[in-house]
Symmetry: C3
Subunit: 390 residues, 3 copies
């Protein structure tokens, strides 16, 4: 565990140095409501998002048959590391100062969601302490990107000129590309050849995770919108999810002859990913179209692209985060260009471009650092770290 210790100290030092340099004020979005009311409204969404983080992402990853105990424990460790670090750093003024407790909590949850996406790409190939290290390395990169793209950090993009209400770009695409970068540098030949097994019980657990994400996705996207925007936003998210769910079924059965339950559990959510940027302003018809396109794109990714991509890039993306969060996330960010009137197109494109670059570099660095703590003996199996694992 010695190298882990070194990196922990390094990360902490980095936080302290940076925290004294860059700051910007976080605006509350209470829309004229009394704080006692606005806080409670945001609190309920924060709890909904927590259900997405733990049961949603956690159980979605239980599809790996012999790795369920680790997937759920890793989810616990990733969330428990990311939330306090993010909130502490934000409270200290790192990459933007935050004073409101519930707003800070929601932003930290957004970061944890992005982290869980990144972890999905390398799931099954890290030892438990490496998930903690992954969280420690991920959070500063994530906060830096969020600050540059949304908060005007470094002066590259004017603050608030990139439209990404529900995080298609800075949460989903960032997490997926970060994970891809990490997978690229650390996938071994042995991992590359090993089959990932599933069974009926692990598939149904995976659907539980998927449904939990589907149900609470409107709260994720509407967590910080104004009360006036909320109704339109949540209905948009639901319509986009309906669209992607139906499209996923149609594409899965068309592309594969028989339906893959993995397509359903994953690509059905692509509408939520892709509507993220434009959820507060798109019309319902546009939301439906974005959802259908995202579901089709994501299913095409799982059914057709994934095998080729993995061969070509010589990597394993365990949960297929490229197809669920990467492509639909980018699509969602780009959808703002035709959909949103008065959009600063240069900002939006710069935001997407910088996110791709920062995420990929961050992921590659992280993929180089993680193996310093060693490699998991047997990929995708609980047995080398858990008692009584069958």
């Amino acid at each position: 565990m010695k190298p882990g210790k070194i990196f922990r100290i390094a990360a902490a030092s980095l936080l302290l140095i940076l925290s004294s340099t860059f700051t910007f004020a976080q605006e509350a979005t209470t829309g004229g409501l009394a704080p006692a009311i606005a806080n409670d409204q945001m609190y309920n969404r924060a709890i909904h998002i927590m259900a997405m983080l733990l049961i949603g992402f956690g159980f979605l990853m239980v599809f790996v048959r012999k790795y369920g105990r680790t997937a759920l424990t890793a989810t616990f460790l990733l969330v428990s590391t990311a939330l306090p670090i993010y909130m502490f750093a934000k409270g200290q003024g790192l990459f933007g100062y935050g004073s409101d407790e519930i707003v800070k909590l929601i932003l930290a949850e957004f970061g944890a969601a992005s982290l869980l996406i990144a972890a999905g790409a390398v799931l099954g190939r890290l030892k438990l302490p490496q998930y903690i290290l992954l969280a420690l390395l991920f959070v500063p990169f994530y906060m830096f990107n969020e600050w540059v793209v949304l908060g005007g950090g470094l002066g590259l993009i004017p603050a608030d000129s990139v439209i990404d209400t529900g995080g298609s770009i800075v949460i989903h695409a960032f997490g997926a590309i970060f994970g891809l970068g990490a997978a690229l540098t650390m996938t071994t030949k042995q991992e590359f050849e090993k089959t990932i097994e599933t069974d009926a019980t692990s598939d149904r657990y995976s659907m539980l995770g998927s449904m939990m994400l589907w149900i609470f996705w409107p709260s994720f996207c509407a967590a910080l919108v104004t009360p006036e925007q909320m109704p339109h936003t949540v209905v948009n998210v639901i319509i986009a999810l309906c669209g992607s769910t139906l499209a996923t079924y149609l594409f899965s059965v068309s592309l594969r002859k028989k339906v893959s339950i993995a397509d359903i559990a994953n690509a059905a959510l692509a509408g939520g990913v892709a509507i993220g940027s434009t959820c507060a302003v798109a019309s319902h018809s546009v939301a439906l179209i974005i959802g259908i396109l995202a579901g089709g794109l994501s299913t095409f990714g799982f059914a057709v692209i994934q095998a080729k991509q993995q061969k070509w890039m010589k990597l394993i993306d365990t949960c297929g985060v490229t197809n669920l969060h990467g492509l639909p996330g980018l699509m969602g960010g780009l959808a703002a260009l035709p959909v949103i009137q008065g959009l600063n197109m240069g900002s939006q494109l710069s935001g997407i471009g910088l996110t791709i670059i920062f995420a990929f570099i961050g992921g590659m660095i992280t993929g180089k650092i993680l193996p310093v703590m060693g490699r998991k003996t047997e990929a995708y199996e609980d047995a080398d770290e858990f008692l009584d694992a069958d």
Copy 2:
């Protein structure tokens, strides 16, 4: 898939024609609260209901051992078809005009709940695209009944004179009887003779669905009541559920010698079904009595009536929706007669009668149409439609 296409076009045309003829204004029930506050209160309940639709109904149906992947995928498809259609039709003024986004969403969820109940009767015997067709056929019938019974449509019953706050009549009984009608016309001899298998894992998944429904049932019944009525309503629902849960255990062990977990997972919810009509006004003692009676009635249905009914009517009601939603729903609607002071008894009885008729006719028509798309090769099994199904 050609016949499916024809019906889709027919359903769409029907929607368009009808949408220009009947309209009535939907009243908001904000009870003096600012919209920003009332919307958020309703939104939280809308999300609770979404959890009931997907994880609640979905996992309750996973009790069929080899059909879990399909049951969950079908739930996704039913909900994803019903919600946008209902909201679109309502927005166009079909069977009553709705302008408030969150109210429309909740009403659409009510329709989706009723649809899931209907689908429970024929579960395991439809191919996946037939669930989509079922949703397309069900929604107009449901909206028509809702409009006639609650909205004063066709001038048969004065608007708002039938008391059915939590939908005992128009949601539960309608869905169950619709499903029964469909099962009646489409059950084959082969299906009739095939045993439906369960195991320990599918039983525990089923209990997860049941508990999810139990937990959020108060939000279902109180979704659109005034803020003043909310506390009394939600406590009534909880008390009724406690009553039916205890009664279910007592009746199950008395009628069968040993307890059936299927009784527990299903009949425990009968109190929620039956308190629906009177939840806002019954006293707590009456709520307890309604809950106990509903639990007893439902368990008696599962333990004694179901086998005889299926033989007699030559049909299979896969999930026993007659016993969980049909009988307790009708009981709940009738309970309003002695319980609610100043009730328009003629309206209440007409509302129940018309619901039975419309639901049964709608179901029979649907049961005739569905097989046009063919029959499932092997009932209650994932394997003919899913990859890797064991």
Copy 3:
């Protein structure tokens, strides 16, 4: 069932006699909000707590491989018995009068949580009707302790001078010690020697319960705090849970070489137990420290103390509630001494002491009474009470 009947009548009589003697007014904590708003805020937390009671505690107990059907049914019966009795008794003025419906509901849920903890100690060794009897016996003891420790009952401790916002003392420690008392008097030699089996599926169900508790714990602790205290309280609870989750992993792997998934599913929650008393006032750093210490203490309990304690006390604590709720609960109550300024130390220590005494006596009496209804034939197995159990 005759002896059960006798006790039911006795308990009801006890309730009636006591209800006419002691009363005190329950204060609402609306903090200046309109009732229509305050009630809705409390209602959402009440529903969150309901999810903890049924799916949280229920599925956490499914870790016993062949006892899942009973564990879930018992959860249903315990909750369905406790809630109406508590609300009825409170409405009648027993151990403090309560008029507000939602406040009464939340207090009843607190009692049900404590009951589920107590039941965890004897899980697998009661017949189903004995769980109902356990609830009937537990609730009066619980209400009496709550009234003496928090409500100034009997004049032993000034009302509101014991600080226990989230129930470390009166909910968690009380339930655990009550369960311990019951286990002490009723564990048989045969039960003592029988191994409790788990498997991969039951372990993952257990993690589902654990995560459900983790997610909604902030609502449990903040259910009745003022709107001003809410943000700080919920962030404290989340930080404490993050601390205990990380500490649990580190202690589990250190003490056992390999990680035990039972440690993770249980001890990760110890931070929520221990922060209960001080959640509204501790600083975030203190919350983190309390969480880490509680996670460490609880894991040490499961890994080292439990086997010795069970041998020494000649009892089986099925779910290890001593280690999850007992020790961390007492730790949380004592943590108020250094943490809270202006605390009445005498009151706090008396409250803890009286809780220990009342709970232990209540549990021992209950453990003597329960076996009057007979013993379960085969411990930890569904088969003697359920149809089709494998």
